[in-house]
Amino acid sequence: MHPKTLFLAFLSIPILRWFSVHAPKGRIYLAFLPVTLLVIVALNQIHLAHTVHLSPWKGGGFGMFSTTDGGPNRHLRIFLRVPSRHEVEVPQPLEDLADRAEALPSDTYLNELSRKIADYYATEFEAMEGVQIQVWRTEFAPQDLEPEYRMIRDFLFEVERD
C-alpha cells in the first residue's frame, strides 16, 4: 500500500474514535456504517490513483476540482499492428468503454477494450497481430501553462490466431 494511503488511514482513526465517544445511544455500528464506507472507498481511490492511474476526479475519493488530470486532459491513442503500426480512432460503439479505460487505465479495462477493438477491425485488417493502446495526459507548466503530453500507460494486446 502506498505510504500516503497508510498515512491517511492512520489519520482517520483518531477522528472515528472521537466520534465513537459522541455517538448516539442504540445500535452504534449502524450510525458508523455510511462513513466507514466513505473512508474505505476514498482510501481505495487514493490507492488506485497511485497504482493504476485512476483519475483523481473519479472513484469516490473527493479529488474533483483538485487537478487538471481528468476528463479532457486525458486521451487514448490506439494502434493496430498489421504488422506496421496503423493508428485508428475509437469506434463509436466502444466510446463508453474507452472513457472508462481513460479514467482507469487498468489491465482489465485495457485488455477488454483491446479485445473489442481487435474484433471490430478484424475484417478490415485480417493480418492484425496486436492492438496497442497508449493513455496520455496533458500536463501544464506552472509559469506559462505550456502544455506537454505525458504517456501514463502503454498496453499491448496480442491477437490470438486460430
Binding site: 462513513v35 476514498a42 487538471t68 501553462l145
Partner: protein, 299 residues
C-alpha cells in the same frame, strides 16, 4: 400589492415555522433526486418514482424500506457506472444509506445528525487531502488557470471577473491543446491570459481551499467547541459562494439537506438560511447569471 406581499410573507413564515428539520432534510434529499435524476435508464424510473412518492407521502418517506431501496439504487448506479460516477453520486448513496441506518438505529434524529456531520466532514477532509497533499497542480494555481480557459461552464466567470474576451478565451483554449507528435501550426495560437484572470484563479484556489478546510475542521469538531457551533455558517458560506461558480448543483443540494439534518429545532434562522441557499443553488444552475452580466457589461 403590498398587502398581497405581506400575506405571502406571513404565509411563508408560518409554513417555515411548522416544518420539522428532519422531515425538511429528507424532503430536500428527495427533491435533489428529482431535480437531478441519476443513473442509467433502467435505474432512473425507480429512483424518480420513489423520490416522487416520498415528497408527497409521509408514509413513504418515513419508511426504512424506501431508503434501503434508494441506497441500493443509487449504489447500483455507482457500480454500473464505475469508475465514471462523480463524487456526489457516492455521497448521495452514503446519505440514503445513512437515512436507512438511522431509521433502524433506535435514535433517528441523533443518528442522522451524526451521520450528516461525519459525511460532510470526511468528504471535505478528503477533498483537502487531494488539494494539498496529492495533487501536483492545485496549490500553484495551475488547475484554476487551465479550467477557467478550457471549461465552457466557467466561460462566463472568466469574462465577468477575469476580464477576458471570448476570442482570447478561445485562442487560449487552443493553445492549451497541443497537437500530437510535436506537430506545429504555421501560426500557432497564443496564451492570452489577462492579469485579472490570474488573480481570479489565485483567489479561487485559496478561497476554495480555506473554505473546505474550515468546513472539515468545524464539522469534525477538530477546532474546539466554538468552531463546532460555527459549522453551519461555514457550510452556508461555502455553498452560497462556490456553487455560483461550480456547476455541480446536485452536490450543493445534498450538502444543504445534510446541513439541515443537524439543525436543532430552535435554530429557525439557520434552517431558513439552508432552505434559502437550496433555492439559491437552483437559481445558479438555471440562470447563466455570469454570462448575462458579462454580456450586459460589454454592451
Amino acid at each position: 400589492m403590498i398587502e398581497w406581499a405581506r400575506k405571502v410573507l406571513a404565509g411563508l413564515g408560518q409554513m417555515l415555522a411548522g416544518l420539522d428539520v428532519i422531515d425538511l432534510a429528507i424532503r430536500l434529499s428527495l427533491l435533489d433526486l428529482l431535480y437531478r435524476p441519476v443513473g442509467p435508464w433502467y435505474i432512473r424510473p425507480f429512483i424518480l418514482l420513489l423520490a416522487g412518492l416520498g415528497v408527497f407521502s409521509s408514509e413513504v418517506r418515513r419508511s426504512a424500506l424506501t431508503w434501503l431501496l434508494l441506497a441500493f439504487l443509487t449504489g447500483w448506479r455507482v457500480v454500473a457506472d464505475w469508475p465514471m460516477s462523480d463524487n456526489h453520486a457516492y455521497l448521495l448513496c452514503y446519505w440514503c444509506l445513512a437515512i436507512f441506518c438511522s431509521r433502524l438505529s433506535g435514535n433517528f434524529r441523533a443518528s442522522l445528525a451524526l451521520n450528516a456531520r461525519l459525511l460532510i466532514g470526511m468528504a471535505f477532509l478528503f477533498a483537502i487531502v487531494w488539494k494539498v497533499f496529492l495533487s501536483p497542480d492545485y496549490l500553484d494555481g495551475t488547475f484554476f488557470r487551465v479550467t477557467f480557459l478550457t471549461d465552457e461552464r466557467f466561460t462566463g466567470m472568466s469574462r465577468l471577473i477575469g476580464g477576458m474576451s471570448e476570442k482570447a478565451i478561445q485562442e487560449s483554449a487552443s493553445y492549451l491543446e497541443p497537437l500530437l507528435d510535436g506537430a506545429e501550426l504555421f501560426d500557432p495560437p497564443r496564451l492570452m491570459e489577462s492579469s485579472g484572470l490570474i488573480r481570479f484563479a489565485f483567489a479561487a484556489t485559496w478561497w476554495t481551499l480555506l473554505m473546505e478546510a474550515a468546513v472539515a475542521i468545524c464539522f469534525l469538531g477538530l477546532g474546539g467547541p466554538w468552531l463546532f457551533t460555527q459549522r453551519h455558517l461555514m457550510l452556508l458560506a461555502f455553498c452560497s459562494t462556490t456553487y455560483a461558480f461550480a456547476p455541480v448543483a446536485g452536490f450543493g443540494w445534498l450538502l444543504m439537506a445534510m446541513g439541515i439534518a443537524q439543525c436543532e429545532a430552535k435554530c429557525k434562522t439557520i434552517k431558513n438560511l439552508y432552505l434559502a441557499c437550496f433555492f439559491l443553488i437552483l437559481f445558479y444552475r438555471e440562470i447563466p447569471w455570469a454570462t448575462l452580466l458579462a454580456d450586459w457589461l460589454n454592451g
